[in-house]
Symmetry: C2
Subunit: 347 residues, 2 copies
DNA sequence: GTTAGCACTCTCAATAAATGAGTGCTAACA
DNA sequence: TGTTAGCACTCATTTATTGAGAGTGCTAAC
């Protein structure tokens, strides 16, 4: 059977209607609401064909048709037009985003908030994976007799630090020397590389005081490096699912919330996704609990290298086109805001 | 009417039963399950009295009784025995908590997770209010030709920093001088005090290069101070409410989720609560949406001064005694872990 | 190939009836 | 005077029944 012009038109109308109403759509409604130029009976015949081809389903005999996952995939691949955001909306999003640019994590969190507000879906935003981030320098700063601060700065502008309480007093000169040695040893290494190095050996010297200090500082240093590798996931608009008819059912809402609550698993799943704008529909998602959801994600870059992700999760019935545009606009702007090297930003 | 021994015993039994079953309890059930030594008919008479006194309510004529808010208050004030946690549980909680002690925020987040796991309720943990935190030193570190790191260390061990991209190149000597000036000006001031100072004036000098640098650094400095004041709220166990029969109703679940989703308001409400272990039941909560919930919170201290909070929110029917104990145990341990001054911890 | 017409299917909402848990009251009892 | 058994009554909950409505599939006519 052929997916001719008319069938496509009808399918598109059904998708459009179902996406906005969430109700199975019947032949009469269709012929009244959309200018298809044919009678309900003809539409019925075509719908029967479309169903046979797998693009439509039936909740039960006397109900209207609704798009199948295959239909959404066809729509996303072939029928969807690029949605151009109105300038006013772009401006307001950018305003809202830049208003809060400071620490990366805060901005990312804020981006998730913006996204859920606009889409009325549950949004998420992931801070960048930092394993390829390159160490720039390490500094040990005296605070008081027993306290020092360990500070690690990386290319991406990421700064980690930790106040350390020492068991014994230290000597400032040794501290300075150790800072230098550590910087010399680790500068230019990625965080992952640094973690595989035999760190104590690397900065070993003959000085007793120094070795003692090293022994105290190193565990914290490694712990900080590990912390820097951690990816944070921010979510927003959890309650939005209650606005979605599909989830007006306690069990489904529950399933969804549980999915969302397993943040570690969810983060893992996100990390594994391909870069760029990616739409996965229903069973295209690996995770079993996501098989009646769709995910749209896109990637942003920090310092042109580190990759973070941002997106929404919702029912397979969603406004793929509009939502994709918003997500892309946000990731583009994040990338712009965090182009650290060579940029002229003063943040 | 008098709240005699027998009435108290019956009331306690009703509370106990209702807390674990969530079902209104009838006279027959009561006489069978608890050793009250009287017949259902007698219990019925007493229950009618208790209802008249305001300790019990009736969902409808032919249903059993359930405790009123007044009953829970009586229970918490007078009848509740201190629940001593079994040593095994204490150990496992402490293990789980200390396993992750590093940056304060991570630990706090983790504490919330532990709490929700144990109580099967929705938990929250707030990082300390830092307005009384005292600045210790300010440091400006060179990174590369155009980049410096601004670092602020406070008494509580809180370290804030921000990589700054400058419009023009800087000179290391000036940078060092500015660090010294700033430390001199702000050392010993609380963050709140620092924010009210006319900062630019404070470090004003005759040097042109210095004033230029100051102009660039200061906005970021103030922004960092403001960021340091921010209180973070971590929540966990959101999906636990779905396990609670009271919320097996879409509307109520929705209400609850919305309450939780308004994090700013929720944080404000928490900040206003009194210190120490505090139990508020139903309408004792100011917030309208919380009037059918109970809250238990307790405070922990960082460096003996800064105050953070931790607790749970759930239906008025909850195990006040056990939960209070867990919360107190957690806050005690947090306070211990973050006793920075004078302690012997090496974290 | 398209359309009107009609029987048929199935869900959903409304109504009614049966069920059962639990009370309140009365009268008898210790 | 306090306690208890007995029983009528109440009200939520469950199950069954019915009717309306939306929509299809098929047939026959155009």
């Amino acid at each position: 059977m052929d997916l001719n012009e008319r069938k496509l038109k009808i399918l598109q109308a059904i998708i459009q209607d179902f996406v906005s109403t969430a109700e199975p759509v019947g032949s009469r409604t269709l012929s009244k609401k959309y200018e298809l130029g044919v009678s309900p009976a003809t539409i019925r015949n075509e719908m029967a064909d479309l169903e046979e081809m797998g693009y439509l389903t039936h909740p039960h005999t006397s109900a209207g048709r609704m798009p199948s996952q295959k239909a959404y995939r066809l729509y996303v691949n072939e029928m969807m037009k690029k949605h151009e955001l109105p300038q006013a909306e772009k401006d307001s999003i950018a305003d809202e985003l830049y208003k809060n640019v400071s620490e990366l994590d805060r901005t990312i969190e804020h981006a998730a908030k913006i996204l859920s507000n606009i889409t009325n879906l549950t949004s998420f935003a992931m801070t960048p994976k930092k394993d390829q981030d390159v160490l720039k320098f390490i500094n040990l700063l005296p605070v008081d007799e027993r306290t020092i601060v360990l500070m690690i700065v990386s290319e991406s502008g990421k700064v980690s630090n930790l106040a350390l309480k020492l068991k014994t007093e230290y000597d400032e000169e040794t501290l300075g020397l150790l800072s230098k040695n550590m910087t010399y040893a680790f500068k230019g290494k990625t965080i992952s590389e640094a973690l595989t190095m035999d760190i104590i050996d690397t900065v070993h010297t003959d000085m007793k005081a120094m070795n003692e200090l090293t022994g105290t500082v190193m565990p914290s240093f490694m712990k900080s490096l590990e912390d820097m590798l951690n990816v944070n996931l921010y979510m927003d608009g959890l309650t939005n699912i209650f606005k979605i008819p599909e989830y007006n059912d306690l069990d489904r809402a529950k399933m969804f919330m549980e999915l969302i609550d397993r943040k570690e698993d969810f983060t893992k799943a996100l990390i594994q996704r391909d870069d760029g704008l990616l739409i996965t529909i229903g069973t295209e998602n690996d995770d079993e609990q996501m098989q009646d959801c769709s995910l749209i994600t896109a990637t942003y870059h920090v310092d042109g290298k580190l990759v973070g992700k941002l997106g929404v999760i919702g029912p397979t019935r969603m406004r793929y086109s509009e939502i994709s545009s918003v997500i892309e606009f946000l990731t583009d702007n994040l990338t712009k805001a965090y182009r650290l090297t060579g940029g002229d930003d003063d943040e």
